[in-house]
């Protein structure tokens, strides 16, 4: 079995391509940013810049605030519904759905069946590309149904969820966004045993970025949203 995103890399490299077995099953990489639309990767010379808790995901709003020399307290004022709306965070459900549906279709899997199942419990992602066990279980069931239809009984056991190796990093679903998604949210980050509320998270990010002199580095962004952020966020600064 091979993940579609990994397959793309393998197919683009002649040496790797030769290592592929004749028969393989492609399964989708689950990326879904509707719960965490503020997540952004930043890189300097292809090296990822960590957040204040030491993980790879950063807050797009916080990065912009830091680079535009807002204080921590000023940056916190940007975390509200008006900002999220203007940044398009509330449109992420349909964007994520469209992208993931395409990924499923490319793997000959039924996205509709999968999303109906995973939605039952509300949130199904710890972060943009860290699915919760239910999301993986529903995917595994569908693959098993398709590939080994006579042997799927064990997957239907209620406690048959896979062991969870992804819950060590939890990005919060911001309350304003959660509300739009019919669930409750919070501003509590967790990376391993490190925890932070919004104020603490912002402080620790600022301290961490001060140490590496982030403002003086040439950085790239994924997603690259700087142009839109400047247009949307600049007018909000000082108004809040």
């Amino acid at each position: 079995m091979i993940q579609d995103s990994v397959l793309r890399i393998v197919l683009s490299d002649e040496t790797l391509r030769e290592l592929l077995p004749k028969v393989y099953i492609v399964y989708p990489t689950i990326t879904f940013s509707a719960f965490h639309p503020d997540t952004q990767y930043i890189f300097c010379e292809e090296r990822v810049i960590k957040n204040g808790l030491g993980s790879d995901w950063n807050s797009r709003i916080l990065v912009w605030a830091y680079l535009n020399e807002l204080t921590v307290d000023e940056s916190l004022l940007l975390f509200d519904m008006e900002t999220y709306k203007k940044l398009g965070y509330l449109d992420e459900w349909s964007n994520s759905t469209e992208e993931l549906r395409r990924t499923f279709e490319n793997c000959s899997l039924d996205y509709s069946q999968w999303i109906r199942g995973v939605q039952r419990d509300g949130q199904f992602m710890y972060g943009i590309n860290h699915p919760m066990p239910a999301a993986l279980t529903y995917l595994a069931r569908q693959l098993a149904d398709r590939e080994f239809s006579s042997h799927v009984q064990s997957l239907r056991e209620p406690n048959g969820d896979p062991k969870d190796y992804l819950s060590h990093i939890v990005w919060p679903v911001y309350p304003e966004i959660a509300e739009e998604l019919g669930m409750e949210g919070d501003y509590h980050w967790r990376v391993g045993r490190k925890r932070a509320n919004l104020h603490e998270f912002a402080q620790r990010c600022y301290q961490s970025w001060d140490l590496i002199g982030l403002r003086n580095l040439k950085i790239t962004y994924v997603p690259d949203s700087v142009a839109r952020d400047n247009v949307v966020l600049q007018p909000l600064v000082g108004r809040k």
């Binding site: 008006e82 509709s112 999303i115 309350p175 959660a178 019919g182």
Partner: protein
């Protein structure tokens, strides 16, 4: 070529696209409205406990919410008194049944009922709004004086409102055997004592509720020829049923009758519309998440979903008014903190 009448309908008309695959929090069963509310309209509310959520939201939205009996500085400043004054357009408390609503008009127009004061521990309670005074009134005269002023305020609610929002709650009620007066709660629950010779239980049928609601709407319209009425059904299940059967079976009966009547009345009267609060909270699309752990109270997230849909369709923002955008509206102080909304006032809570 064969014609399939179900081909090419709107997305909301199919289960898959209208419910099953709608994103969480995005379910919106409203497809058209008869009217919209502007910043100039005066809006009043009445009904079951759930009506108070609408009342608060309407106020917080910047709409002109009618409060005919505000809390005066000279009055007791208890939380209960404040809620009575601010979460009801007049201090009538919960109006659970359509018969109770109809009789509210009768009483405002001079109908004097026989069994209307309940006593407990030397204090007196208005049988039609037993929580209006914390701990009851000291004397019957004081109670009656307050009622006279209250019923004048009730008249104002119906004659001066541009829009009246009525949340239908129950079909079960207790009434007087003497004159058929319907109470919001059973005698003996808060005050008084249940007596088979004076009180009788009634579970109103579809024809009775239909007749009462049609009558109520028409009479409100006679009092105020430009009023528009918005009907909705509370999604909160019964706390207890007096019918000897499971409370859930009684709930489905009650809600089915109310929902059907509301739809039929809205279909018949051009100035009446139906808003699906009930559907939003109880839809399978919510996967039961809009109910608290007691499986009865509606979560703050569920209430907010209802209000978001209400705002989207019924509130007209023309850009020149003071109306707040939905994103700015906070329906209740606790919303968003992961706590349940318990700050609504419900007579029904005292039944178990």
């Amino acid at each position: 070529m064969d014609h399939n009448p179900y081909r090419g309908l709107a997305a909301s008309q199919y289960w898959r696209s209208g419910v099953a695959e709608v994103g969480p929090g995005q379910f919106d069963p409203v497809t058209s409205v008869k009217f919209q509310i502007t910043s100039h309209d005066v809006v009043s509310t009445l009904g079951s406990c759930f009506a108070q959520h609408l009342a608060r939201h309407i106020k917080d939205s910047g709409l002109r919410y009618m409060m005919t009996e505000p809390l005066l500085e000279t009055e007791e400043q208890t939380e209960q008194a404040a809620m009575m004054a601010t979460q009801f357009s007049a201090r009538y408390g919960n109006i659970y049944t359509t018969r109770q609503a109809l009789q509210l008009l009768d009483r405002a127009n001079g109908w004097e009922t026989a069994d209307d004061v309940w006593e407990r521990n030397g204090r007196y309670f208005d049988a039609f709004r037993p929580h209006v005074r914390t701990g009851g009134f000291t004397t019957i005269e004081e109670l009656r004086d307050a009622r006279v002023a209250h019923l004048q305020a009730v008249k104002r609610v119906f004659t001066e409102s541009d829009v009246v929002v009525f949340t239908l709650g129950l079909t079960e009620a207790w009434m007087s055997t003497i004159d058929g007066a319907v109470y919001p709660t059973a005698p003996g629950v808060i005050a008084g004592s249940q007596d088979n010779s004076r009180h009788v239980f009634q579970n109103f049928s579809y024809p009775e509720v239909l007749s009462d609601l049609l009558n109520w709407c028409q009479r409100v319209r006679e009092m105020n020829t430009s009023v528009r009425i918005l009907l909705t059904v509370s999604p909160v299940p019964l706390n207890a049923t007096y019918v000897p059967r499971n409370v859930w079976t009684s709930t489905t009966y009650s809600k089915a009758v109310l929902r059907a009547v509301a739809g039929d009345v809205a279909a018949e009267l051009p100035y009446v519309d139906y808003f699906p609060s009930y559907e939003i909270v109880t839809s399978p699309q919510a996967h039961g998440r809009y109910f608290e752990d007691d499986l009865r109270e509606v979560t703050s997230v569920g209430v907010k979903h209802v209000m978001r849909v209400f705002d989207r369709h019924y509130v007209l923002r023309d850009g020149t008014s003071d109306l707040k955008a939905p994103a700015q509206v906070r329906t209740a102080s606790k919303i968003g903190d992961g706590q349940k909304i318990s700050d609504v006032f419900c007579d029904e809570e005292f039944l178990d």
